[in-house]
Amino acid sequence: MTSQVSSPAGQANSAAGGSVVGDVVSEQRKPSVEKEVRRLDRVIIRFAGDSGDGMQLTGDRFTSETASFGNDLSTLPNFPAEIRAPAGTLPGVSSFQLHFADHDILTPGDAPNVLVAMNPAALKANISDVPRGAEIIVNTDEFTKRAMQKVGYETSPLEDGSLDGYSVHPVPLTTLTVEALKEFDLSRKDAGRSKNMFALGLLSWMYHRPTEGTEKFLQQKFAKKPEIMKANLAAFRAGWNFGETTEDFAVSYEVLPAAKAFPTGTYRNISGNLALSYGLVAAGKQADLPLYLGSYPITPASDILHELSKHKNFGVRTFQAEDEIAGIGAALGAAFGGSLAVTTTSGPGVALKSETIGLAVSLELPLLIVDIQRGGPSTGLPTKTEQADLLQAMFGRNGEAPVPIVAPQTPADCFDAAIEAARIALEYRTPVFLLSDGYLANGSEPWRIPDQDELPDLRTQFAQGPNHTLDDGSEVFWPYKRDPETLARPWAIPGTPGLEHRIGGIEKQDGTGNISYDPANHDFMVRTRQAKVDGIKVPDLEVDDPTGEARLLVLGWGSTYGPITAAVRRLRTAGQSVAQAHLRHLNPFPRNLGEVLRRYDKVVVPEMNLGQLATLLRAKFLVDAISYNQVNGMPFKAEQLATALKEAIDG
């Protein structure tokens, strides 16, 4: 199949030379042909600066330019929990890493090829990740004696030889930006704020990024502040021009669109939380039910509350509750009333919601519990990623309270995972956990936008009339009379005449739903609720084992998909045989999981926790699963996993 990529970059008309500083006409800038252009197959760039330097925005913009150019990409935003940590300090460093390529890629990359360091703290905090030979662009204006001392540099790293072996570009970003904006009526401090746009312009030149999107973005973002808009545009263009003109940057790089990596379709770049939000809206649409979100703000889940709050014209109701418990309480009330109900949170919020989740198990009502996992325990690391809520989701309730668990594996996959979680909740009338994490939530990648007719039909039937005949022949409604196949109970919503019934957290008699303390009935109900969850139909686990000769299986779940797959590719390229499988359903497990596990001599389970999935596998299948764990708040690196897997193969 031959593919071609058409992008806004390709379609844009060049208006080069037509603009003066301050003009707001969008333009597509074209690189000069005089400088050397080298072609690369992939690049990893990390923007790093102070929390207030706008690094996340810079990264987002570079990502959008890259997405619209048609590269495959993967991103890793990394920022402190403090909104504005003290300026110039190591804890205040915020960074954004972007990996883009002319082929399909799976991770934001292990080690940057380019580091943009806006101050000494950014250099110090990031340099250990950057291999020798990489390019480092530093804002020399910020390398004052005081700023360097603040982070423990006794001598200037730009001069003392500690950066030997790196290709360092010392650029006075602030001075250049201020100079470029001297026509504007801005203080030096205010003008200096646009230095991130100068840096973005420079990098956009270096990597031949389309610029039209960023120009449009700035025009829209600052539409109400024309001076700021013009200043940012001017800084952006000045950065681009600087790259083209200055001799320090002798080479620019080209990374061709990843034409062959993508199936036919229309694409956009999307982050995990956005994809998850859209998945919820789509699920409501496909179920033909109003979507109701009961939530309390918590990092890194709040974005979903923000996003869904924008879509009231889809009939989406969002309720910011007084606490986590009320968030899920309101959602459960809405579920009783016939909404597709959702609560969104992170680990600490799940802990608070546990009792209500148990009630939802007992009431057997559909409810989505979205847990964007972060570092724990307690407050832990609010802005960092972790997978350590698996056992909390699985067992964190009183009594036998089984809850199905679905986990997305990439940012874009959050869309499909949300729809799958909704399917299970609606079909089986049960709360369902959707376990995303901070890395998926904030990371982004290209997403092929699905047509609505590709989405599953989630429509469900509310109970309409009596479902049981008593011995005396009278027709009655029994709220706990189950569908023999799914074991789901009827969903009879208030407003349906003749089906008035009472449900609650006290044990219910099978069928009638009346309060029952009968020992045998309780035993039966406990087993039946478990059987319902165990019986949920989930697809078999697919194993990727191209040679069929692998003796080792690497099994993951959730956001480790990217790094594991990248590591497996490296091993295979090096001639190793290794089988890979990734679990989307953690409860119930796919039917064939036990058989898959027994097929291999070794099973390695990498997790960003201390072995929670491995514990479940050992308990359920008596398999000697080997854990490989990391809980440092960051995703695995592909090289690190490849090394660990190689050792397991050899060991």
Partner: protein, 359 residues
């Protein structure tokens, strides 16, 4: 804003979106087939009978009525009502009911709770429901004791209460639920007594007609663990001096032949009880439940002595119109459609920056 429709019997706001019953209803229609399991002699029986007896008056389709409760003796209430119902978990009924009421404006949603459920474990949800003014009717059964857990002191128990958990007397200062509700911006607050069926029904009637959250504190006797807690309000002779019956538009007088009255102290601005005389008769406060300011209603709620219960006002303290949360939420949905058109999923998913890969 409040939805208003004119019924045959007058104007019933708050219920305008709830479908009406097709046939005439009786008390029997609201009794479920479940055996009532409260202790014999419990005040809850009287409240249940009053509610079941009053429901037909509303003339609502009973499938559109829902009772939500928490945990405690009173929270068994929904099982005995032949409507939709949920017996939930401790303290959370207002939160659950908020989700139900805000997503289903065609329902009449009632919360049944107790002093422990509403004011202790569920205090947070109660105050936030009140400030939002969700269309809920909250019946707070206050027996000043924990019944279901067998007799520990509650957040409304008097200081020094001797119970199993406080053998030397409780140290906690009690809540005054009416004061708390008024402080929490409640738009409707009333107090009544389980044994006074007529008064109880009258208060329920006003609560039902109120658009927004209505909090009704019902003094309820626990004959097992706190028997006679409200005897002073029930005993005919003592009640004359102890109970102040509030009626909107009427001077606040009580005692034999209305010998006592409530006046505003000109020095402190606070309320006080005086013997009514020729001179001060014109100074007696006239009850205004609809006052926009909650100040006087709050002052009235402070008249009662928490230990002796002397000078306990009953009736509707406050009933004011305030925008209803459910209506506002629904209006925003309509407004969003007006501004942006009905949601188009394909357009949403596509966003603004796309590129196309063609085969």
């Amino acid at each position: 804003m409040a939805e208003t429709i004119t019924e045959g019997s007058g104007t019933i706001e708050a219920l305008s979106l709830v479908p009406k019953a097709e046939a005439k209803q009786s008390m029997k229609d609201f009794k479920s087939d479940q055996e009532v399991r409260w202790c014999p002699g419990c005040g809850d029986y009287a409240v249940l009978a009053a509610v079941q007896g009053f429901m037909p008056e509303l003339g609502l389709a009973k499938e559109n009525i829902c009772f939500v409760s928490g945990i405690g003796c009173s929270s068994r209430f929904p099982y005995y009502m032949n409507t939709y119902g949920m017996h939930s978990i401790h303290g959370r009924a207002p939160a659950i009911a908020t989700g139900l009421a805000t997503s289903r404006r065609d329902l009449s949603v009632w919360v049944v709770t107790g002093d422990g459920d509403a004011l202790s474990i569920g205090g947070n949800h109660l105050i936030h429901a009140l400030r939002r003014n969700v269309n809920l009717k909250i019946l707070l059964f206050n027996n000043r004791i924990y019944g279901l857990t067998k007799g520990q002191y509650s957040p409304t128990s008097e200081v020094g209460k001797i119970t199993k958990s406080t053998p030397m007397g409780s140290l906690d200062a009690p809540f005054n639920p009416v004061s708390l509700a008024i402080g929490a911006e409640a738009s409707f607050v009333a107090r009544t007594v389980d044994s006074d069926r007529k008064h109880l029904t009258d208060v329920l009637r006003q609560a039902a007609a109120h658009p927004g959250t209505a909090l009704v504190e019902i003094y309820q006797n626990c004959n097992i663990f706190n028997d006679g807690a409200f005897e002073v309000l029930k005993d005919k002779q003592q009640a004359e001096e102890a109970v102040i019956r509030l009626e909107h538009g009427q001077p606040i007088r009580f005692g034999i032949d209305g010998a006592k009255g409530v006046v505003r102290d000109s020095l402190t601005g606070d309320l006080k009880v005086v013997d009514v005389t020729e001179e001060n008769q014109s100074q007696i406060l006239v009850h205004d439940a609809h006052s926009a300011s909650p100040t006087t209603a709050f002052a009235l709620s402070r008249l009662a002595d928490p230990d002796t219960l002397h000078h306990t006002p009953i009736g509707v303290f406050r009933s004011t119109d305030r925008p209803v949360y459910d209506t506002l939420m629904s209006d925003q949905l309509d407004q969003a459609i007006e501004q942006n058109g009905k949601g188009d999923l394909a357009a949403l998913l596509a966003g603004k920056d796309t590129w196309t890969v063609v085969g």
